[in-house]
């Protein structure tokens, strides 16, 4: 049951070759990298997974490869799409292929509370009984879901098992979601983990975020849930400068892929074009941030 999800559901990158083709072999190394650094599960084909640059066939292929390599560990697939028919088609394919559930964000253009309720009514009528992560990411989608609306969606649709909460501020909204009566759902958080230890303090079940150092996400989670909150914060703070550097929109994704390439997680760092490219200055900044990070970790005894 996804509603019992706990730990790190890492937002996975999609690896490409230099010629912009999908690099399926790097999907394998990437999957291994994530799990060997403490991930509990993967969330693939999210926004920073460049899902909006793929064809339908490529989306199926990428999701399938991640699922197979994960060997039974949970894989959630982003299927958000302005077309409910396409959302449904991808959902069916990836659920058949063994996904644990799908993640859905409301499409741009929904305005009122009623619009949002109607949209998900239509979605669930079409896709049926599939476990869902409801993504609340208003700065990306342009759709604002208030806590009462999310509560109604949870009540009406038992398929919703996880809320991915990445409104700003996330912390106050987490508290209000956690205080809701009724059926319990898991709450995982995004925003590139920029508020992770505070969010853990507000009662979330883990991060659903991307970062070039997944071991930070899992260690902070483990420390925090073991009651070592101070250690969790201190460890987190060592990584915060790089985390923040990766938190620069699409450009930050380019950085993240480059750092992961250096760590051997994938072969080629480039995003599918058109996309930002890193110059010598950016590489030098990465060098410096990594060096500082290492020093900070060393000072902490890591």
């Amino acid at each position: 049951m996804l509603s019992n999800a706990k730990g790190v559901y890492i937002i996975a990158q999609t690896p490409f070759k230099e010629n912009d083709d999908i690099d399926l072999e790097s999907v394998d190394t990437l999957t291994d990298f994530y799990f060997s650094h403490g991930a509990s599960g993967l969330t693939v084909l999210g926004v920073s997974g460049e899902s909006n640059k793929l064809t339908f066939g490529e989306s199926v292929q990428v999701a399938n490869r991640f699922i197979r390599r994960a060997q039974g560990k949970p894989v959630i697939v982003g299927v958000s799409n302005p077309s409910i028919a396409q959302l449904d088609e991808l959902t069916k394919r990836v659920m058949d292929d063994g996904a644990s559930g799908v993640m859905i964000a409301p499409p741009n253009g929904l305005r009122t509370d009623q619009d949002i309720l109607n949209y998900f009514e239509a979605v669930f009528k079409r896709i049926g009984d599939v476990p869902i992560v409801l993504q609340d990411f208003p700065f990306s989608t342009g759709v604002w879901m208030s806590v009462p609306v999310i509560a109604q969606l949870i009540e009406r649709h038992p398929q919703i098992q996880v809320i991915k909460e990445e409104d700003i501020p996330s912390i106050t909204k987490i508290t209000r979601l956690r205080d809701l009566p009724g059926r319990r759902v898991a709450i995982l958080t995004g925003n590139n983990a920029m508020f992770l230890p505070l969010e853990l303090g507000r009662g979330i079940d883990g991060p659903m975020a991307g970062f070039s150092h997944p071991e930070m996400l899992s260690s902070v989670y483990n420390l925090y849930t073991a009651g070592k909150t101070d250690e969790a914060h201190k460890l987190y703070n060592c990584y915060l400068p790089l985390l923040s550097y990766e938190n620069q929109s699409q450009w930050g994704v380019a950085v993240r892929k480059e750092v992961m390439r250096r760590r051997g997680a994938l072969k080629h760092a480039g995003m599918r074009s058109p996309s930002p490219a890193l110059d010598a200055r950016a590489h030098a900044e990465i060098d410096m941030l990594l060096a500082h990070q290492q020093q900070a970790l060393a000072a902490l005894g890591n």
Copy 2:
């Protein structure tokens, strides 16, 4: 050559059955209806053709059926997509199937002139030498293309053969586009034909709009180009109340499909859900508008 396009390139509806399946037989009757009422060509899978509710496979199927039924008459296919890979895939399929060209609007999220130039650079690098209708519809796309930017696009990309101009006001922009030096492109206009005779006065090559009475579009075009501008205006004015009633966003599309159903152009008027539905009051308003239209036409001697 699309750059010589002239006349009515009607924006085609997509017909559905009561159960929301595509109604391919109605694609045939619809095609016949458009051409028998004076269309020179079709533009299929546009916004009001509910293209954003279809799967990839359905899009190919619908476009293919229109193309085959058009028996060599020009069919342009809307392929706009946030994913350039998907845009490319659909473009290749429909061009293989015999489309005359594809229509592309810039995706939401492009902001500066440079963003727009970069986007189309990437598109044309990928799709190659395919005849293009560039759609300038800022109120729908959220992307504003100034005349200098459009001029640069025309200069850089010989593939652009038609501008579909539907900024507001369209008339002043048409004049500025028409006055551009350099390679001539066709200018066709949308905005549900709300400014058609004035746009003809500004030098366009015809409408690329949807309306339940395509004979109005073709007659106004024919009168105007025959120098009978007063007659063109007078005829147009008879239809303007219904045209304006159909010019109410998605709700207006529901009206248009209902009027076309009454005229035998398609079997079922419904839009694919979720979508607006017409109640008894709306039906009564349609009755009245059609009756007034008939009276106005009769008074004109039609």
Copy 3:
């Protein structure tokens, strides 16, 4: 009581001199023009009244001049402002000067139903017991108010006496608003009167719109409420081409002011800069539309 408002509350232009100063003498002639062409009241300092180009002092001055010249006839003043403090300050000044009420639209940036309720809670706490026109114009404000939210606002705030309804489609929303149980408010409609006779058929109390020919608004209203609905439609249709030409965003306002200048309602047609200007082609189009309008009215026996 504004909740009994009936008839034409015309959206008034603000007249400027060639040097961009306010033209107070033209405020007088304009006021006389509106009332002599059948207006029941005025709505001043709206969006098309260029309110967002004035200083606070100018706003007070313009409103005051309209109020004095109206000699006791109702004048509503637009006071929408991102700053509640400024909204409050202008409200107090114009109510002291004799305004009948103020019009408020929610500011851009309100997203959820709760945001909207909170905003008006704060507004009414600050401004107190002032008669209000609540403006529902989502395409201009970017704030979507559903019928349930409007119903809650009406229930909570007895100050709300009029809804200015200009969502698209307006007609279905009018029916839903009219069917609400509870306290009755007046419903007046905008959208440049593009749907006026149909809106009258849905039960509104009159237009709150701008047009260079206010006699059309009042005559259509009078015919419709006298049960002569066919005559109302026919008269309306004579003006529809020009109405639609004026319905082109800020450029349409420039047209309206020019037509009103020709009719002697104000001295100088220009909008305060920066603003669109009309060229010779536009003037010729106006000539032609006015000529056609006169012919259509003559054919109707007017």
Copy 4:
């Protein structure tokens, strides 16, 4: 000359009393606080200074009080306003009162490069020869200014002496701005200083940002410009967790004011209503972040 601006131009809060009135005495203590913690100048009436909640009279009063208390040190006043007339009126008042210049961001609704150029043409025609900070903050204004457009503005308008750069990523844009040929302008950066040391590495002249600990901004600036880049980064990193906590939109402003209240900079922490309020959990989080910050600084030997 503002074009020689260097150091910390802190974004100043506006202090209110519990009853929402302006707290002018706290303006004095706040001014002293900023300057005693290393500010070179102040920027008042910015977005996080709650400028959009004030009346015109209050804006003048607040700016005047800051200017007088600054005793000749530079004070820049935010005057952005959808109405150029209001922008002009406030500009004249605060320049008369001794401001060093005014900050202007383009208003929402400008779309193309040409729109932006036209807008500033009209602004400078009206306000004349006043030193200007051009604010490039697209995520707040909704207006995207490319580097070529900014270059044209600098070339055309010698009044522009500073660019406040807070696009994302800021660092790459800073490099492109710095590499522009032609007249040199100062570049100061915002984004709540989330990228300050990296921005210093890209050649900026200092931060124009708000933070509850201005001594961090000044120390990082001083270390960096003294060539102690490693020390600058290390000091910065001690503050980053709190900085990031304050970087949560309007809610973050409430946090910042609370921390500053604790430090004695102002009497009452509340923002003018309607505004977010901090609960016990938030206060506890602030306690913890401040404690961790102190520990980190101690470990660094501060």
